[in-house]
Every structure is written in structure tokens, then in C-alpha cells.
Symmetry: C2
Subunit: 220 residues, 2 copies
Amino acid sequence: MPSHVPTITAFERSPDRGRGLARDLRVRWALEEVGQPYEVRLLSFAEMKEPGHRAIHPFGQVPTYEAGALALFESGAIVLHIAERHAGLLPQDPDARARSIAWMFAALNTVEPPIFERALATILERDEPWYAARLAKLEDAIRLRLGDLARRLGESEWLDGAFSAGDLLMVTVLRRVAGSPLLDAHPNLAAYVARAEARPAYRRAFDDQLAVFTAASDGG
Amino acid sequence: MPSHVPTITAFERSPDRGRGLARDLRVRWALEEVGQPYEVRLLSFAEMKEPGHRAIHPFGQVPTYEAGALALFESGAIVLHIAERHAGLLPQDPDARARSIAWMFAALNTVEPPIFERALATILERDEPWYAARLAKLEDAIRLRLGDLARRLGESEWLDGAFSAGDLLMVTVLRRVAGSPLLDAHPNLAAYVARAEARPAYRRAFDDQLAVFTAASDGG
């Protein structure tokens, strides 16, 4: 067990209004799953782009993770780091562990890109003449990925054996389309997301992230 | 050292005509860096979508990696698996190792998405009325990422200490914009890519991948 209480960074005022889409949720959730207390340093958008923060996060984003002399960026890498140092997020068996890590990369490199592109397009391209056509293309790409994922999950509870860091990341990706016909077309995927969201560790992480936004809104 | 010679899958006829952009290059390169011999099973596009291959790769893509009872998908996960089992692609120091893994995720989840979207757009959206405007937006996003990356790399040889799996993945991502003004705007990044491409392990991986395409073209 690390002796340092880690410090993570998060949005002072999240663009999603605290609905659990900012990427510090992944790190909070992983820390809650393994029972590791942590501290949070909140950053404004301006502070994220300052040299002090960029020394830790080259792309000027959140979250970061600091523990002792170690400073990490990239939510996927931070979740993997936590999972490697605590029991509960990766299987003991080496082959099963490698497969869980494959699902972590699949979540972030295969499933997330079209889902995140769609989220960006709904903000940045809404007024463009091409918006409808572009959205249709993105949703086709998302449907392809979700169809493959639903077929693989089938009636299993989690992607590969027990709940793992692969499920944790995949669920945070799928939550961006939760409640939309894209996800609801696959009842097994919708149930998978709901099952993960019912985990006490997820609830604590979500509530803590929401509380930051609520406090910022009350104050401002 | 694993006792099994691993088998990877690759395109029988790569859409990039063997120019080193297909993702099996990452896996070939990692295996060459650590001196692990491997076998290659070539797949047609139809074979990639068949149930036999989907049992290994849920999204019906290449590459995959099989060694003994283990079957993995996702190039990032396969490279990490190789790096964990052989010396040469991750530092020994635990903190430095975690930082190298952070660069692996940064390559695939922060730098690759806009670069890959641009590559897709140049194929799929070239005839759309919105193509020029959309390309401009994507290139703005790429410029932002590459500017941050160039600032962090500075005059260093590699991203964090010795050459690592983080550099390996980052270079495979940057190669998609090699020779374009996007990359050439940053001479240190262009030199970083050239430095990586000059590694003997990279050359062997590239030549082997190209030979597959050349053989297929000669035959067909």
C-alpha cells in the first residue's frame, strides 16, 4: 500500500455540470473501489493552462495524480496505476489480467473516439450546415462499436470475469450515450451501465464529483 | 521469457499499401525491440469479420496476439503486455515506468483521436460539401496537441528518459502526419519521428510489414 495520500486534480466548475462525465470520475471511482482515500485540488480553466499545471499535465487537462515523487496524467494510466498497486481492479491470473488491460485500451482507443467526437460535435458543430449529416455518420460509427460490444458482453455481468478496471473505463465511456437510443438499442449494455452505476464505490465517486459543482454554483 | 512463439494477425492487403500505418506495425516493432521472434497470420477483410476472428477480437480488427492460452486484442494492450514481459521497453524504476505508461495512453487517447479522425475524413468525407471546413477544424485540434507535445519534448531525445513503449506508440501516431505541415511546423517532433524510424527494430518491423503488401500485390 502506498504511504502517501494521493492528490488528484479536477475541474473547479465542470463543463458537464457535475453529471459524472469529467474524467476525474474514473480516478475517483478507482480509488473508491480499492478504498484509497485521496485529496482533490480544483483548477479553473485558466489554471489548467498555466506552466505549473502543465509541468504535470503536458496537455493542460485534468485529471492528474500525485503521490510522493510521482506525478501522472491520463485517466487511463492513472486507473491502471491504482489497479496495479491495490487489489480489486485487476485479476490475479496473468492472462486474465492482460485481458482486462486490453478492455481498458478498447474502451479508450476503440469505443470512446466516436462517442467523444459526437459529444464534441454537439457542442462545436451544432450551427454548421453539415451538422445533421456529420452526426449521422458519427452515430453510424458508434452503432457499429456498440453492436460489437453488445454481442461480446451477451448476458455476462462484466466484460471478462469479475468487475475490473476494463469495465470501469468502458462504463465511463458508455455513460456519454446513456439514455440515448444508441445505447438503449442494446438492453444488455444499458443494464451493464446501470449495474456499474449501482456499485457503492461509483455512487461515492459520482456524489463527490457532483458536490464540487454544486458548491461552486452556490458560491458563484 | 515466454516459451511460446507468439502469433499476431495483420492485414493480408493493408489499406495503407504497406506504408507502416496499420496497427500491427506497433506490435511488430515492440517484438523486434525486445528480440522476440513471432509468427504472422494474414487475414482478409472478410476473415476479420468472421466469428473465428471475432472470438479473439470483438471488434473484428487487427492486430491480435496469441501466445499459449492467451489471446489479446488492442495494439496498445499488446505492446504493454510485451513491454511487461521483456526488458527494453519500460524503465525499471516504478515511477518512471508509470510515466512511460502514461505516455502510451496519451499517444492513443489524447494525440491519436484528432489525427485518426483527419485520416478517416480524408477518405470518407472528401466529396462532402463540408470537407474543407471540417478538415480545418480537425487540423486546429491536431495543432493544439502537437504544440503541447513539442513544448514538452523540447530538445530531449525521447519523451521521458530512455526510449520506451510510450515513444513507440507516440511515433506510430505521429507518422500519420509525417511530411505534412502539421508535423513539420515542429522540427523537434519531426526529428523525434526520424530518430525512432532509424532504430533497427523499427526498420525490421516496417520492412516485414511492407513485404506482406508487396507479396500480395505481386500475387494478385
